[in-house]
Structures are given as structure tokens and as C-alpha cells.
Symmetry: C2
Subunit: 508 residues, 2 copies
């Protein structure tokens, strides 16, 4: 072993030890967040915010410490001398990218942001309950102010929004997003018009009934178990806003929320969050702590949830398998509804108020609206106090719906209260990725959809795992898409998917 | 403001900031522990152990850091110049005591101990399930080895066991415990003989029935709510071994475990853990982080759980209020059982296998047995591999019972698997404290027990809160007992309480 190799080995050991320590603090924080949403008693909120702020502070301190910087700079020299192998380069480059970003954020700023957001989440929940944006406004204003400051601290070329977007979808700019979203909007507006003119009228209220929460929960567990959710390494719980979180590949948790009249309210969230969870459970435990054990981006993560929720979970073949089981558990109202009728009803398209309940065709319009609003907010062309008015007017313009109150309008999403500005576009990017990835899967796996009809999801899950999950951050988002599909991300696959599916359903 | 006062103010601000940071790490660890027992999926154990070990390591590093030591030494100078007021002295002395202890433990040792214990707890659970001590033995051996090492590192005068006991019951020595336990054993052995000779024969199986877990849970919530458990600041959950934990005064959680045949299995644990929780909920939030916001000792903590579980919860007056409610919820089998008969049955005395299910009279013998075993283990006069034999022989000798298997013998308690050696004696000390404290409460509150009969526990709870809880560590355990009762801890009150109560029940 030459001198460089020996030094490199030691430096990388040191790097891995530091990264593991950081990841374990991250795991503790993820549990504190999970508990806050799922089991924490009401009055625990204030202390919880402080506990989270403290851990975030410790993490930040360690990450930007002089010792850690010195270590990274030593490895940086090796990199410049081409002494790093492929995996070492991936690990180092990603950590260096994160380090450079974080170093620009002072400790006081990080603490302030974490504590503000943690408090804001309880306030948002109360505001939503009371459907009163004014309760939440001062917290939102503070968050926007802090996120504008974050963008300034991090730095940007064209728009301050780019600095925030980069946290969730590295290497993507708001200009690129704007272009892709423009194409998508053009298509969707036109396609929605065709659907509205269709003579096929669907009334999905026939799917409503009385579904006991406990029975729903059992059915959800059955479905996600079939998809491959590993209950030895995870849990399904209940929270106001469904989410997934992972402490490590062996403890990944999802939540859903229940509506006793509408079974699909909980089921579709459970399937969606399972898509996320399969990504986390599919990462390699031995890579925990390094970028090789982390998901690529929020957009790619969302592609995994949407591919399962929509492309698979609302596929006729998926229900060829599950519908008889559903009928057995809930003879009312399904007894008298044929599979074909059922399939059309779960794929009913109608512009509506709530993003998480919206259909595949209109969903991206909800996202485009949010993207525009948060971009304008951060660029300072609009202010938080005007949001309900702006929101309601855009809802009218894009989707043609009137927003009756704040709870089903501006207050419906948890994201901004948690400081996640720049996150929303990743949902639509996820949809585009998912269609492009699914097209590749169909080319690779003969009779893929027929397997679904037999209740066999293993083949597809393992394909996703081997093509995406196990690689961690080996590829960038765009690199992965090119690797799997041979093309850059584009909206063609999604547009084709939507066109084919809904031409059939709406007989266009 | 003179120079000293100004410096003192700054130093104390710095101390409080550091202590708060440590306490928030402690809160996160408490949640990780709670979750491990209550909701964590099976395969999460290995990573959880590492996450806990990492946080323990960070806490230790910060606590024994050069900066913190420098700060304490500066305050130490002020103390020597009599510049500290009463509260500052309490805070400083306690932190200095803890610091001196912890400084003797190297980081590697702390990590090793935390990780070993976290792994050992899953193994213990499995061993108990399979009733096979051999599965647990290698982990117990490792723990004993580490705890012997801990005693050596900490230092001691007479017995290495004193160094461990001091962690749970500061200022108490194993010699003092041995003397008190000797008196107690003398009395109990004699008194048990009298009970055995009594012509009163009680058959508590008449209290058995079929009690749905969900209904039990609701009744438990009703009872502990009446006692004053604040559900806005806490939760009741289910775990194998009931426990209480507190992240801060506004988030205190208890668990119980259910037996559908025996309602009192869950209820008595719920009441017991509520006694602990009321102590934690009774600490002052503004003192969180400093010793003024911490309970005094494990013995005093246990006095609060036992005073509620046994002295109040098995008092005839408590049931004058609750028994009609219990009858209403569970007409079978209570419909035909009179209050007096019920009271005798819940106070049935019989030597038995399981500590947590044992009665007030025999309970302390279970503790004395454990105390003797762990003292001998640490002093090296016995070895872990021989424990089942020693356990079973002592059970025969003290309680006259034959232990049929490891699960209901040596493997019944979680404590050793968690590294808690030196903890057990605090249970019996808690019983002694509780009787002595209750005697004082009766002198202070006119008609105390009559209030129980009316379902009024507020007066008593507030008395405990004002006499004990809100003071944090203002008093030492012995100082508190002297303050409240005018006497040092002694076994007289407990002996009198047991004698009076059971003379009546068994017509001695």
C-alpha cells in the first residue's frame, strides 16, 4: 500500500465515522418529527420545537466544524490528484456540495428556522382546523422572511427561488421547471377540455359507503404487504397529513388518514407512502450514513410513490387482482359494481379543491399553481398576506373551481409551515419521472401488467430496487433517467400515458 | 451590580444554556427508548442501539468537554467565595457531583455500555419469550463486566456496589440499605407467618373475568384522569413491561400491559406509572434542564408511584368511589361481590413468583432477594451463569415458592438488560418513604381518606406537588423526608401501616 492509499483509507474511515454520527442525529430528529405528527400530546409542541432546534444546531455545528472542514479539504486534495475511486468521488462530491451550502448558514439562523417551523406546524394545524389563514399568517411571514434570507445566504444566479429548489431537486433551475411546466400546462388545459366535452359521465359517489377505520386499516395493510412493504422494518400509523419517514433502511414509517365514507382516501395515501417507503427500505443498510445510502432527490422519490399510487394502483390489472378481495371485505357498495365500472370510477377526472385528493390529470395544475405562488413569494413580487386572494383566483383560472374557505384552499398543505418552500415542483417532476420510468419497466419486463393481475408485484419491485434504490446517490436525477430510459427527462411519456389511459376511459 | 455579581450572572447563563442543550439530547434519547419499547418495528433494534449509543456519546463528550470543565471550575471559585445563592448552590453542587462521576468514564466505555444494553434489551425480550436464560447469559455477563468496570472507574470506599447504588439513590450506601432491609425482613417473615396461620381464606380468582383490552384501557384512562394525569401533557400506551418516561414536564408518557382475564394487571400498573408521571408533570417547566427541575432520587420517585398504587389505590376509601363505576363497566364478575369482599381480595397476600404482581407484604422480599444477588454479582462472590440456581433457591428460602422456569424467575425484570444494577433497592426504599410521607399527609390534611371516598384526589395530589414535586432537587432524599416528616427514613411507618391494614383484613 503506497502512502496516498494509506492516507486515503484513514481519511475515508474518519469521514464515514463523522457521517454516521450525523446520520444518527438525523434519525433521532426524524423520530421526533414522526412522533410530533403521530403520537405527541398537544402540550408537548413547545418543548418539542426546542428539542428539534437543539439537535439541528448540534448537527449543523458538527457539519461545519473546523475539524470536519479540515478533513474535507484533505480529501479534496486527493480528489484533485485523481486519487479517489468512483464511490469515493460520489461520496465526497455530495458531502462537499452539502457542506458548501450549509457553511453559508450561521448556527443562529438554523436554530431560528427550525424552531419557527416546529412551532408553525402546530399553529398551521390549528388554523386549518378553524379555517382561518390569519392565525397562520404571522408564522408564514416569518418563514418566508427566513427562506428569502436563506436564498441570499446560499447565493443564486437568476432567481432566489433556485437556491431553495436546489435543496430538493439538485441541479434543477426554476427556468427549466418553468419550461417543462409550460408544456405540461398547455397539454393539460387542452386535454381537460376534451374530457369535459366527453359524453361519458362518471359519478364516483357510487363508491362511497360506510367503511370502518379498523377494517380499512387491515385492508391497507394487506395491499401494501402485497406490494412488498416490510412490516419487520416499518409501521403504518395515522396522522392528519399522510407522510413517510425513514430512520434507517430497517425502520421506515408511513402514515395515512381515514375517511369512513371513502375508502380510497386512506388507501391511495397508504399506497403512495408505501412507494416512498419501498425506496427507503430498498437502500442498502451497509451504506447508511453516506450518500450511497441516500435517495437521489425529492423528484425521484416522488416518482416512486406516484408510480405505485397512480400508474400501478389505478391500473386495471392491479384491480383485477385486488377487486375480488375488496368486494369480499366490503360487499357494500362493491357487490353490484363491475370491475370495469369500478376502474372508471377510481379514475374519475374532475377539477377539485384538494391537491392530495385530485386526479392524475388535474394534479399537476395544483402543483403549477403552488410553484408559481412560492416562486413569486420568494422573489418578492407578492406578499404572504395576499395569498388567499391569489390562491383563490388561480384556482378559478386553472381549474375553474371556487375556493369556499381557507381550510380547503391556502391552508390545505403542511409544507410551508414546515419551511419546505421549493418542494412543490418535485411532485410534478415525480409524475414525469414516473411515466418515463414505467415505460422503461414495460420494455424490460415481459407481461409486466399481466403480472399485476396475478398479484405478483415482486418482479416490478425488484426491478425498481435494482435500477434505482440500491444505487443511492450514485446517479444524479437526470443521470439516472438517462441510464434507465436512454433519454433526458421530458414530458412526452407522461403526456402519452395520460392520453392513452383517458382516451380509453372517456372514449375520446 | 458589582464585578462578582455580573460575572456570576454570565457564568450561570452559560451554565443554563449548556444544561438545556444536554437536557434536550436527553429528551431525544428518552423518546428513542420509549419508541423502542412501544412502537418500533422488530428489525429496527440494531440501528436504534447505534443511534442511542451515538447520542449518549455526544452527551458525554459535551458534558466532560474542556469548555464545560472550565465553566464549572470558574463557578467553583465563586462557590468557595460564598458568592452563590441557595438555588445556584443546589444547581452547581449537583452538576459538579454528576460531572465528577462522568469524567471518570471514558467515551469508549459509555458507548460500549449504551450499545450493549440497547442490544441486550431485545435479546432479553426474546429470552424471556422462550424462557431460556442461556440466550441472555452472554449479554448479562458483558453487562456485569462493564458495571464492575464502571464501579472501579467511579471509585468506592467499602463495596463496588456502592458506586452503582449512588447513581440511583445518591448518598445511600449498601451498608445502610442492608441494615434497613434486615429490620424489614425480620418483620416481614414473622408477619407472613401470622397471615398464613389466619383463618381468613381469600380466593382472589373470584375477581377474574373476561375484560376486553379496549374497555380496560378506557377504565384506566378514567381512573388516572381522576388522579390528575394530564393527557394534554402525556400519553398512556402499551408495552411488555410497564414504564414511565418523561421528555419534559409537558410530555410525560406511561405504559401498561394487559391481561384480558385480570383487570388489575393493567390497572395497578397504570396507577403506579401515573404516580411516577404526576411527579414529572409536577416539576416546574421553567426549571427544565437544571437540577431544580429534576426529581430527587429513584427511591423518592418510587415513593410517588407506590403511594398511589398501594396506599391510595388499594385503600378501601379509594374504592368506595371507584367500585360503583367499576361495577357499571364490568358487571361480570363484580355485580355479586360486595365492596368489603372486593377490598379484601385486591389486598390478598400470597408469596408468588412475579415481583410486579406481588402484594404489599411480600413485595419487599422480592427486592431484598434482588439486592443481595446484584450486590454479590458486582462484588464478584457469585457469577452470572449461576443466577437461575441462586435465584430459585432464594425464592424458595424467602418466599417458599418453586420457580418453574426462567421466564417467571430470573428473566422477569427488564432492569439488568438495560444496565440498571443498583436500581432494585430503590423499590423497597420507595415503599418505606411512601408510608412515612403518607403518615405526614394524613396529619396535614383533615379527613384525607374521606376525600378519596368522594373521588377527590386533588387535595392530596396538590399536597404531594407542593411538598415534593415543585422543589426538584432542592432537598436530598433524606433532607426531604426530614423536612416533611421531621424524622430520618425508618421502617417504623411502613411496618405500622402494614400491621394495621392486614391485622384488619386477616383478623390477626
Amino acid at each position: 500500500m503506497n502512502y496516498f492509499r494509506k492516507m486515503k483509507k484513514e481519511l475515508f474511515e474518519e469521514l464515514k465515522t463523522s457521517l454516521l454520527e450525523l446520520s444518527h442525529i438525523g434519525s433521532a430528529m426524524a423520530l421526533l418529527h414522526w412522533d410530533q405528527e403521530v403520537y405527541m400530546p398537544k402540550n408537548g409542541a413547545e418543548f418539542r420545537a426546542k428539542t428539534l432546534a437543539n439537535l439541528a444546531g448540534i448537527m449543523h455545528e458538527k457539519f461545519v466544524s473546523k475539524e470536519f472542514e479540515k478533513l474535507l479539504k484533505q480529501i479534496s486534495k486527493l480528489e484533485k490528484n485523481n486519487e479517489l475511486n468512483k464511490n469515493e468521488t460520489i461520496i465526497f462530491s455530495e458531502i462537499w456540495r452539502q457542506f458548501s451550502r450549509e457553511k453559508k448558514l450561521p448556527l443562529e439562523f438554523v436554530r431560528d428556522l427550525t424552531e419557527t417551523c416546529s412551532n408553525a406546524q402546530s399553529v398551521w394545524a390549528e388554523a386549518r382546523k378553524k379555517s382561518d389563514f390569519k392565525i397562520f399568517l404571522p408564522f408564514l411571514e416569518k418563514i418566508v422572511e427566513l427562506k428569502r434570507k436563506e436564498a441570499e445566504l446560499v447565493g443564486f444566479e437568476d432567481s432566489p427561488y433556485d437556491a431553495l429548489l436546489d435543496e430538493y431537486e439538485p441541479q434543477m433551475t426554476s427556468q427549466e421547471v418553468s419550461i417543462i411546466f409550460y408544456e405540461l400546462k398547455e397539454f393539460l388545459v387542452d386535454f381537460l377540455k376534451k374530457i369535459k366535452k366527453s359524453k361519458i359521465k362518471i359519478n364516483p359517489t357510487i363508491l362511497n359507503g360506510k367503511f370502518e377505520t379498523e377494517k380499512q386499516k387491515k385492508f391497507n395493510e394487506f395491499v401494501i404487504g402485497k406490494m412488498g412493504f416490510d412490516f419487520g422494518c416499518g409501521r403504518l400509523d395515522t396522522s392528519t397529513h399522510p407522510f413517510s419517514t425513514s430512520f434507517n433502511p430497517e425502520d421506515t414509517r408511513i402514515t395515512t388518514s381515514y375517511d369512513e365514507k371513502n375508502l380510497f382516501y386512506s388507501l391511495s395515501s397508504a399506497i403512495h407512502e408505501t412507494g416512498h417507503a419501498l425506496y427507503e427500505q430498498g437502500l442498502l443498510s451497509e451504506n447508511f450514513g453516506t450518500p450511497l445510502g441516500e435517495s437521489i432527490s425529492h423528484g425521484i422519490h416522488e416518482s416512486q410513490s406516484r408510480i405505485w399510487e397512480k400508474i400501478v394502483g389505478q391500473n386495471i390489472n392491479f384491480w383485477k387482482y385486488f377487486y375480488p378481495k375488496l368486494k369480499k371485505e366490503f360487499s357494500q357498495p362493491f357487490e353490484k359494481i363491475s370491475l370495469e365500472e369500478f376502474y372508471k370510477n377510481i379514475n374519475y377526472v374532475k377539477p377539485s379543491l384538494i391537491r392530495t385528493e385530485s386526479d392524475e390529470v388535474t394534479y399537476n395544475l395544483h402543483i403549477i399553481l403552488r410553484f408559481e405562488i412560492e416562486k413569486d413569494l420568494i422573489e418578492g413580487t407578492i406578499e404572504a398576506k395576499d395569498l388567499p386572494k391569489i390562491w383563490n383566483s388561480k384556482m378559478k383560472e386553472y381549474l375553474g373551481v371556487n375556493v369556499p374557505n381557507d381550510a380547503s384552499g391556502i391552508l390545505q398543505d403542511v409544507h410551508w409551515s414546515g419551511g419546505s418552500i421549493g418542494y412543490f415542483p418535485t411532485y410534478a417532476l415525480g409524475n414525469l419521472y414516473s411515466a418515463q420510468i414505467f415505460d422503461a419497466a414495460k420494455k424490460d419486463i415481459l407481461n409486466l401488467e399481466k403480472e399485476f393481475a396475478l398479484g405478483n408485484f415482486e418482479h416490478f419491485r425488484e426491478w425498481l430496487r435494482n435500477k434505482i434504490h440500491i444505487h443511492g446517490k450514485t446517479f444524479s436525477a437526470n443521470g439516472l433517467i438517462k441510464e434507465i430510459t436512454g433519454e433526458e427527462l421530458n414530458s412526452k411519456y407522461f403526456i402519452d400515458y395520460i392520453t392513452d389511459k383517458y382516451k380509453n376511459i372517456y372514449e375520446l
